[in-house]
Chain length 272, copies 2
């Protein structure tokens, strides 16, 4: 059975809870890690949050999220860089060792151009990230988000971007929701591992039918993804980090969050 | 400007119209081709429909759709074969030279196994298709349909399936909606062309945001797909068939279909 010490929950998963409640509940459930979404920090004193997480022995796995580098004009490109520099400051203040990047795309702009802008943007913020000891994890997003969320849709494209950047501080966040369908996944996981790029592993499930492109993710075991198979591929390649539960679901958010957290813990043990 | 003689409309695009109305309207608009969905034939005499299309000089481009070969048990596999044999009979009766295949998938079943079942299913019906002079076009579907609609998600997988089958009667239907995001698309179009597998070309557009996974396709020009660029790649590879407008859209279906057809004709000329 998977140890709870390797379970991490994203604050967005239990969105109805403010972070003070989330940290209490996660710790009481024996969960080992937390990934903090930036909106959970809005209006909060980051040092206080950091102390609260530390006192509950919750390991901060990452800050979600930076990215969205592509833009139609210079002003937009600079605004993205500025926002990512702020995210790096927030990660450093929180003690998060890593930021997850949803890399961005501009509808109608050629995807190659957006990928160039993503590489340029990451390179622009990289010195600050390195100075702060914060790693950057490119998350390939499902091709259904290629219009406006990520021009990086596959592990192969994420590996290619990392190769162009060539920094040990830039790697990949593998989320089963985005990559489960890809027949190149096992090879690309191995390639990423060879270059020490396997930075994070996110789990949830794909519902049939899926009624909303963004907020209809399933709890592990509710859908069709072979999560244990992908986790095995990750671990055989050398990954030994957290299994991070990241579920966007209007359905689950509308239910009792205590009961949901119990379901997360049991689903993690039975279906990851 | 693209000639209307190369424009084909799928009956599903103007779903509110019975086929008798659709054929009148398409012909009056000067449209050269029609792809007939099987549900448009339900309760109709196929010979009468065929005669009606011929008298209006509407070329039947294909019958939509066969496929859905994968199944969890032998009974399901056989039922799929039987249904595809019926579809071949219907295509022959209608004078359709081709059937478009939405290949199918079973949620939770390994995609490789479903792809094997797809190849087996096509091989099972291929002798009857060849005897009837009906070609079979594998349509790679967007990865967001990999759970239950198609284990063939990319042009590379479609080419691989064609390679395994090895028949000049089995090729590929390229729909921009499904493949526009794929950086391997140009190479895979060329590969398909080298083996004479470019059987069909479907157009529509990808909306931002997309509010429904199935029925929120856009009219050409409404979304982010570089349709002229993909058409150019098809034609440079040697494709000279119809440009088929296949739009599933609750929004457009709810509007006046005469006005919609006018918009289709102008969008075809401006954005394809």
């Amino acid at each position: 059975m998977l140890p709870l010490s390797k379970l991490c929950v994203h604050t967005i998963t239990t969105k109805p809870w403010p972070i003070e409640v989330a940290m209490d509940k996660y710790a009481a459930a024996g969960i080992g890690g937390i990934t903090v979404w930036r909106q959970a920090l809005e209006g909060k004193n980051i040092e206080t949050v950091r102390a609260g997480l530390a006192s509950r022995n919750l390991e901060v796995v990452s800050l979600c999220r930076g990215g969205f580098f592509p833009a139609a004009d210079v002003k937009g490109l600079q605004a993205a860089i500025d926002d990512n520099l702020r995210a790096i400051d927030e990660a450093a203040a929180l003690g998060a060792p890593m930021i997850v990047l949803v890399c961005g795309a501009v509808p109608g702009q050629p995807l190659e151009k957006s990928r160039d802008q993503i590489v340029d943007g990451i390179q622009a913020v990289l010195p600050h990230a390195e100075a702060c000891g914060v790693k950057l994890a490119i998350e390939p997003l499902h091709p259904m988000y290629a219009d406006d969320r990520s021009a990086i849709s596959t592990m192969a494209q994420a590996n290619a971007a990392c190769e162009r950047i060539g920094s040990p501080s830039v790697g990949i966040a593998v989320d089963v929701y985005h990559v489960w369908w890809d027949d190149a996944l096992p090879d690309q996981i191995r390639l990423a591992a060879q270059h020490n790029r396997l930075f994070a592993f996110h789990v949830c499930d794909w519902m049939t039918p899926t009624t909303d492109l963004l907020n209809d993710r399933g709890l592990m075991g509710e859908g069709c993804i072979d999560i244990p198979g992908i986790r095995k591929a990750m671990e055989e390649a050398g990954f030994d980090g957290f299994n991070e539960v990241e579920i966007f679901s209007n359905r689950w958010w509308s239910q009792d969050q205590d009961a949901f957290l119990s379901r997360i813990v049991s689903a993690y043990q039975e279906h990851c």
